[in-house]
């Protein structure tokens, strides 16, 4: 599996120089760019203005508590995914976080577990499939959800299916919670999206490549097999 991933990555990173117009990792680029434009339009008109207002109007301690609250709910399935990846110790630690944060942290409003040294992790079903050996497949831009791949898109389907917030009733309360979570998440990304504007020549390409690198890193829990530039055949400094 390691070799397959390595070969795929090498192909992805070096092969793009050889193939003519289209990136091998992104065979649906024209379609994806269309969805990307749609998402940008929605972001310009709704998501970013609302998130900016939220950040400007709501004091930081309150926003921290909102983030902590949803983060605590998320830890339940972060633990499940760690167990599914055979990382039992990590999974139990994630659940310990839920126990401490829900009780001493008052329904998760305070991240006391982090203060105690039990660190937050980042897992989801897409990463679990990656850990099991599934490659990312073609890059996809999903409507409203943004950057994904075939594997991570299926993973997101599972994430949403098991999302505890979706079970909240009455429906109106659920919708309010979902809206608050999305707003908070987008507000946390305001700096990142400004950075993207500043850094990228072509935002679509820059975001895609960053997403694919990031997900690869996450699948390996921040320690992907090393790719030294020296290993690339086209390293100009060799």
């Amino acid at each position: 599996m390691m070799r397959a991933v390595l070969v795929a990555t090498l192909l992805a990173l070096t092969g793009c120089a050889a193939t003519a117009e289209r990136d091998r990792r992104d065979p649906f680029e024209p379609f994806n760019r269309g969805v990307y434009r749609f998402n940008e339009a929605v972001d310009d008109v709704v998501a970013r203005p609302v998130a900016t207002a939220y950040r400007d109007l709501v004091p930081e301690p309150v926003r921290d508590r909102v983030r902590n609250f949803f983060s605590n709910i998320g830890d339940v399935f972060i633990g499940v995914n760690n167990i599914l990846q055979g990382k039992f110790y990590d999974g139990f630690e994630d659940w310990m976080r839920v126990v401490f944060n829900t009780t001493f942290g008052v329904f998760g409003l305070h991240d006391v577990a982090s203060d105690m040294g039990i660190e937050k992790r980042n897992e989801d079903f897409g990463q679990t499939f990656g850990w099991w050996g599934f490659g990312p497949g073609p890059y996809l831009v999903l409507p409203l959800l943004g950057s994904s791949t075939v594997r991570d898109g299926i993973g997101t389907g599972f994430d949403l299916y098991f999302d505890p917030v979706a079970e909240v009733r009455p429906t109106r309360a659920r919708n309010a919670l979902v809206a608050l979570r999305v707003t908070g998440t987008r507000a946390d990304l305001l700096d990142a999206s400004r950075l993207l504007e500043q850094a990228a020549l072509d935002k679509y390409v820059f975001q895609r490549d960053a997403y694919l690198q990031r997900r690869r890193s996450l699948v390996y829990d921040g320690r992907p097999p090393r790719e030294r530039y020296e290993d690339f055949e086209d390293n100009p400094r060799k």
């Binding site: 990173l13 793009c16 120089a17 003519a20 990136d23 970013r48 900016t52 930081e60 921290d64 983030r67 902590n68 949803f70 983060s71 991240d111 982090s114 660190e119 937050k120 992790r121 980042n122 946390d188 305001l190 700096d191 999206s193 400004r194 950075l195 500043q198 850094a199 990228a200 020549l201 072509d202 390409v205 820059f206 490549d209 960053a210 690198q213 990031r214 690869r216 890193s217 996450l218 921040g222 992907p224 530039y229 690339f232 086209d234 390293n235 100009p236 400094r237």
Partner: protein, 219 residues
């Protein structure tokens, strides 16, 4: 009497000259300098202290922020290496003249991006990881983590190599995303479509568009 320091400096000069020829991080005896992890830590602490004290920077003065970065951070980056790595095989096609301009434009872009990232700084805490390297290593990764409430700590990894003039950063990884690798596709696409000069033109246009610093607070 021979001062051992002088011998050391002589060697360092020799090393610098060799490096200039070879343009790679060759191993050479040289006087002990600040270790790479200590360097990252002292520069980070110094810059963070400067920007959190400076009222003008806090108020959104981009020119002042760029000044601080140029004085404190730039000397520790190897922009020629970063440009070469971001260009990949296209670097070989570039003439010395083109290379000079590419390095200049790309470093401007990177510095502005760095400034945007720093402008977003708001009292996050840093955690420095112990460096796992042998004393003889000439290529190391220095890891810093940014702690944030209700989120996984964000890893920032500096790839550094030893040169005749101290340790230099040649790549920055943020959350597992290599900045240099991330420009590869963009650069390759542009070079394939419109050549090295096309890429230069794009970079210049991008940098000129970013010229008037955006009003503070705007996204």
């Amino acid at each position: 009497m021979t001062n051992p320091m002088n011998i050391g400096f002589g060697r360092a000069w020799l090393a610098a000259a060799l490096l200039a020829v070879a343009a790679t991080g060759a191993v050479a005896d040289e006087p002990r300098r600040e270790a790479p992890d200590a360097l990252v830590r002292s520069v980070t602490d110094e810059v963070v202290a400067l920007i959190s004290k400076d009222k003008e920077i806090r108020g959104g003065n981009r020119a002042r922020l760029l000044e601080v970065i140029e004085a404190k951070v730039l000397p520790h980056f190897n922009f020629a290496a970063m440009t070469a790595l971001a260009m990949g095989q296209s670097w070989r096609q570039a003439s010395p003249e083109q290379r000079k301009h590419l390095v200049a434009e790309f470093s401007t872009l990177l510095v502005r991006t760095y400034a945007s990232a720093l402008a977003a700084y708001s009292d996050q805490r840093f955690e420095y990881r112990p460096l796992r390297a042998r004393p003889t290593d000439t290529d190391v990764t220095v890891s810093v983590r940014v702690l944030q409430s209700g989120a996984q700590p964000l890893a920032i990894d500096y790839s550094m190599e030893k040169t005749g003039s101290g340790w230099k950063v040649y790549d920055v990884m943020v959350g597992g995303v290599s900045l240099v690798a991330n420009y590869r596709t963009e650069f390759n696409n542009t070079v394939r479509a419109s050549g090295i000069d096309g890429l230069l033109k794009d970079l210049q246009a991008k940098n000129r568009a970013g010229e008037p610093p955006p009003a503070p607070g705007r996204q």
